[in-house]
């Protein structure tokens, strides 16, 4: 009985050892994003990006995105992009249909443009 358990234990250990080098392997490759920007900048971006990702995910959620979708969306951003969003999601341009114009202003605008056109023509 004891030897059976010992054998199972040993097999388990062997199986686990197969995984060890692989895990080191992925840790050992230096990523492309580290070389495409200036390396000190890339390091900084990586560190800040790591912190910012959680931040930005929370902000996305506060703007009506569910947590899973927020994670997926953050995952598609580069470190620099995440940083550009951090703390600014509420103020950055959000392209929509261009409405912030009251009708009154519109009328003034149309008149002004007409005047301007006429003035340009003279």
């Amino acid at each position: 009985m004891k030897s059976v358990w010992a054998r199972i234990f040993c097999r388990l250990l062997v199986a686990l050892m197969i995984w060890t080098p692989y895990q080191f392997a992925t840790a050992g490759m230096i990523g492309t994003d580290r070389v495409v920007t200036e390396s000190t900048q890339a390091d900084r971006a990586a560190v800040l990006g790591f912190v910012a990702r959680g931040d930005v995910a929370r902000q996305l959620q506060s703007l009506g995105i569910d947590p899973k979708t927020a994670q997926d969306r953050i995952g598609a951003l580069s470190d620099q992009e995440v940083q550009s969003l951090a703390g600014k999601i509420h103020s950055l341009p959000a392209g929509a249909d261009g409405t912030d114009v009251a009708v009154g202003i519109l009328i003034i605008a149309v008149i002004a443009v007409v005047v301007w056109y006429l003035w340009k023509r003279m």
């Binding site: 050992g28 492309t32 580290r34 390396s39 969003l85 959000a94 249909d97 261009g98």
Partner: protein, 325 residues
């Protein structure tokens, strides 16, 4: 709604132009449209007098959703089957009632395309259209927060006109100057999406490489692999692109291919810590610790900002060699 939409949108456009004109007057601006002026002086080199990409599909936007609609038009033109509705959960922010610029760039990557933000240049937009790539531009049609994405699909240089798919308007024709006034307010923000086998006509080597690396980072390793290959055909001397190609191979488990690319790169850049480290790692991953060690030693000896990673790689290899003996 559809009936009233066109006049409302043109009214918005006029309002946008007006808002810009006021701002320009207040600032005492010498010229409203500096880029239109230089465009008028000379046509960008190598582009025909006019081109319109009539094959770009049109998706009318739903309320506020010009982001998903514009992106879908550009992505379908790049060969990805997608609808605006599918892109809503990827780019739209309900509480902001709009889509952010970086998310527009990011979403296309999730579908295996490379997104590229153009230089803030009218000539580059013309160049892209001439090469067959529609360009997404960010305009401001309001007084302050009237941000709007539209897709530039054609130009007529002789008459100074730009054609766009915009909102509910399948074919909007604007004078260069009028578009510049509303587009300028986003800092001339424009982007294209292309399949990994293509390089945009206006692409700059460094910025294009960063765009491909961003695709690789999202885990689109197969698409990144093709993009790096295409990149190296155009700029074969770029060692960083070789590092990227090898990383994409590595992520796909193609260790032999990664090794071959890195060995070739090591000949051209014998002092690159990243090349040496990654080559050592790739050999170690194949269990060839003895071969890996000299490269790891060289990486450590070269030093620099990646020295820590290199000594970690070396220590791992040494540990494995010790285990083998």
């Amino acid at each position: 709604m559809t009936l009233g939409a066109k006049p409302i949108q043109s009214a918005r456009l006029i309002a946008g132009v007006f808002a810009f004109a006021c701002a320009a007057l207040l600032h005492g601006c010498a010229s409203f449209t500096p880029q239109t002026k230089s465009l008028a002086e000379s046509r960008p080199a190598g582009v025909p007098g006019a081109r319109e990409l009539t094959e770009v599909p049109f998706f009318a936007q739903n309320d506020y959703q010009c982001g998903p609609a514009s992106l879908a038009m550009a992505m379908v033109a790049a060969g990805v089957k997608v609808t605006p509705d599918e892109l809503v959960p990827e780019v739209y922010l309900p509480e902001r009632k709009g889509s952010l610029q970086v998310e527009m760039l990011a979403a296309a990557r999730r579908h295996g395309l490379v997104s590229y933000q153009l230089a803030p240049s009218y000539a580059d937009v013309i160049r892209e259209i001439a090469a067959g790539t529609p360009v997404i531009v960010l305009q401001n049609l309001g007084i302050k927060e009237g941000w709007h994405y539209a897709v530039a699909i054609g130009y007529d240089w002789d008459n100074g006109m730009l054609q766009l798919r915009s909102g509910l308007n399948e074919r909007q024709e604007l004078p260069f100057a009028m578009n510049e006034m509303v587009w300028r307010r986003s800092g001339y923000w424009a982007m294209v999406v292309v399949p990994p086998e293509r390089i945009p006509a206006s692409a700059d080597e460094q910025r294009w490489l960063a765009a491909v690396a961003a695709l690789e980072r999202t885990g689109q390793s197969a698409a990144a692999r093709s993009a790096y290959r295409t990149f190296l055909e155009r700029w074969p001397a770029n060692v960083n692109a070789a590092i990227g190609l090898a990383n994409a191979h590595h992520a796909l488990g193609e260790l032999r291919e990664a090794e071959a690319v890195l060995r070739e790169a090591a000949l051209r850049a014998p002092d690159s810590v990243v090349v040496l480290n990654n080559l050592a790692q790739t050999l170690a991953d194949q269990g060839r610790y003895g071969e890996a060690l000299p490269y790891a030693e060289r990486a450590v000896a070269t030093g620099g900002p990646h020295a820590d990673a290199a000594s970690q790689t070396r220590n791992t290899i040494l540990r494995n060699l010790g285990r083998g003996n």
